[in-house]
């Protein structure tokens, strides 16, 4: 396998983006990624698009956005791994270049979720488990999937609703400093605890918003990095992926996600580093409990000690391991196919030390970053390790 670098990144403004259609939104991420890498669409051999769809009108999104962004002619594929679709596209593009098959590949993530109403969104995401055994008779919602984990984690480890609220408060604080974030508003623990119940014990401020967004990543081989004179390549050092059962009832427990544990181990092994070497991480906080479980599943702390990490402020900038200082899915927003690529956008900016405003830049020691992206409720997981 060859070395592969991130050489260009772009991220559209996240939010309710009914001012643009699917292709126009994607363009807002792709053009800056081209400019960042110093290439055009003609230089791209292969495009992997992460997008789940159904909430937007197009059935073949990759050909629609490729035409609009001047990428027609490249090999193209759409990747689906639910909320980890963006990371699955990144893994596909990475393998394409690492294998020596192509020299420049792109991973693009896009989701346009706000073209339908909220009950329809809940319907579509609620079916993202096992339709026949979990949705058909029982109306599972996506918040419900994570609420089942929150209840179990609280019962076993004494994690509290206040602990969950602290995750939301932290992520809103950093989103407020991130120009591309959906929300620019700090909240308090009281705001979070008093917000309406969505799926008990999860309340409104425990849940990520429904967001439109896109992100684009350009990958290149070491030879291309030299040829293009890229001054700050960010290398993909490790990629780990795993899966969990479709039926939640065929899982061993509800206090963590086995797919995330396995994907993390594989990524760390691939990169030859461990959790203590990571300077900054983006983790899949679609719901606040998911961030606490991620700390434990990745190995930033022992199982059951995730709440302690957030209580002590260890995942803030200046703490032991800053997590989701872009605002996370919780407050930057979670356009589900875009999230994996948006995590790589943020971590690339962090590793290049070019985050604006500067208060959001994490001090780097090892120049190692980790992205943890879960699809469904641990139905899929992708962990990517980057190093400058």
């Amino acid at each position: 396998m060859r070395k592969v670098a991130v050489i260009g990144v772009g991220n559209a403004k996240f939010g309710v983006r009914q001012d643009v259609n699917l292709a126009e939104l994607t363009f807002e991420a792709v053009k800056p990624a081209f400019e960042d890498a110093g290439i055009t669409g003609k230089d791209v051999d292969f495009v992997a698009l992460g997008s789940v769809g159904a909430w937007y009108e197009e059935s073949l999104p990759v050909v629609v956005v490729s035409e609009y962004c001047g990428l027609t002619g490249a090999g193209v594929v759409r990747c689906e791994a639910a909320c980890a679709s963006g990371s699955s596209a990144l893994a596909m593009a990475y393998l394409d270049v690492a294998s020596g098959h192509d020299d420049i590949a792109m991973a693009i993530g896009v989701e346009k979720m706000r073209e339908v109403d909220t009950p329809t969104i809940l319907e579509l995401i609620g079916r993202a488990g096992y339709y026949l055994w979990e949705f058909h008779n029982f109306g599972m919602t996506f918040p419900a999937y994570y609420a089942l984990h929150a209840t179990a984690h609280m019962a076993k480890y004494g994690t509290t609703e206040e602990d969950l609220a602290l995750v939301s408060v932290k992520n809103h604080k950093y989103a407020n400093m991130n120009p591309i974030a959906h929300f620019h508003r700090e909240i308090t623990v009281k705001d979070a605890l008093e917000s309406p119940v969505i799926a008990w014990p999860l309340k409104l401020y425990d849940c990520c918003p429904v967001t439109d967004g896109a992100a684009a990543i350009v990958l290149a081989s070491e030879e291309k990095v030299k040829e293009l004179k890229i001054d700050t390549p960010v290398w993909i050092e490790g990629v780990g992926s795993s899966s969990g059962t479709a039926n939640l009832t065929n899982r061993e427990s509800y206090v963590g996600l086995t797919a995330a544990v396995l994907a993390s181990r594989r990524a760390f092994k691939d990169a030859g580093v461990g959790p203590n070497d990571v300077d900054v991480a983006t983790v899949h906080d679609c719901f606040t409990i998911a961030e606490i479980m991620a700390y434990e599943d990745i190995g930033f702390c022992r199982k059951g000690e995730g709440a302690k990490l957030i209580r002590e402020g260890q995942t803030e900038i200046g703490g032991k391991i800053p997590v989701n200082v872009d605002g996370g899915l919780k407050a930057k927003g979670h356009p589900i196919g875009a999230t994996g690529c948006s995590m790589i956008y943020e971590l690339t900016k962090q590793l290049r030390e070019e985050v604006e405003p500067r208060q959001r830049q994490v001090p780097l020691k090892n120049y190692i970053a980790l992205a943890h992206n879960v699809g469904g409720t641990g139905h899929y997981c992708y962990v990517t390790i980057l190093r400058r």
């Binding site: 009950p119 026949l132 029982f138 179990a152 019962a155 008990w200 939640l248 509800y254």
Partner: protein, 144 residues
């Protein structure tokens, strides 16, 4: 002051209904009509599965037998849903639980007959078959 939403074009509507094959698990759905919960056990490796399967994911044998579940078990986790999907808008808020049955398999279903405040992890429940007033075949947990 609320901003005027940007202009949009309304798409042609799309409505989808799927007809899901049940030939290989029909005994389960027929059982519900008799008030019983059946599932499958692999004759080769003895693995008990829930939901029922025609093919064993553990040993890949397709030689299965139907067994009736006692239905008794203990709640492992639960949630309560006031914000419902489009197709559940007409229902009252509902509680969903996962319980581990005495036979070892876990089941996800609604929990009825108990208030949210009185619902606890570790609570003993019984799984019962149910035919709804709309003739939907389902099953739910009730407290023992």
């Amino acid at each position: 002051m609320a901003k005027t939403p940007p202009p949009t074009l309304k798409s042609k509507p799309l409505s989808l209904t799927y007809y899901i094959p049940t030939s290989k698990t029909q005994k389960f759905w027929d059982g519900i009509k008799e008030g019983k919960i059946y599932t499958t056990k692999c004759k080769k490796c003895e693995k008990l599965n829930f939901p029922p399967v025609a093919d064993c994911p553990t040993c890949l044998s397709s030689d299965m037998k139907w067994v009736e579940l006692s239905g008794e078990g203990e709640i492992e986790t639960f949630t309560h849903i006031p914000v419902k999907p489009a197709s559940f808008q007409s229902y009252d808020d509902y509680t969903i639980a996962i319980a581990r049955l005495n036979e070892g398999v876990r089941v996800l279903a609604w929990l009825t007959g108990v208030k949210l405040a009185d619902t606890k992890v570790g609570m003993k429940v019984r799984l019962v078959a149910k035919t709804t007033p709309e003739d939907m075949l389902t099953y739910e947990f009730v407290p023992i």
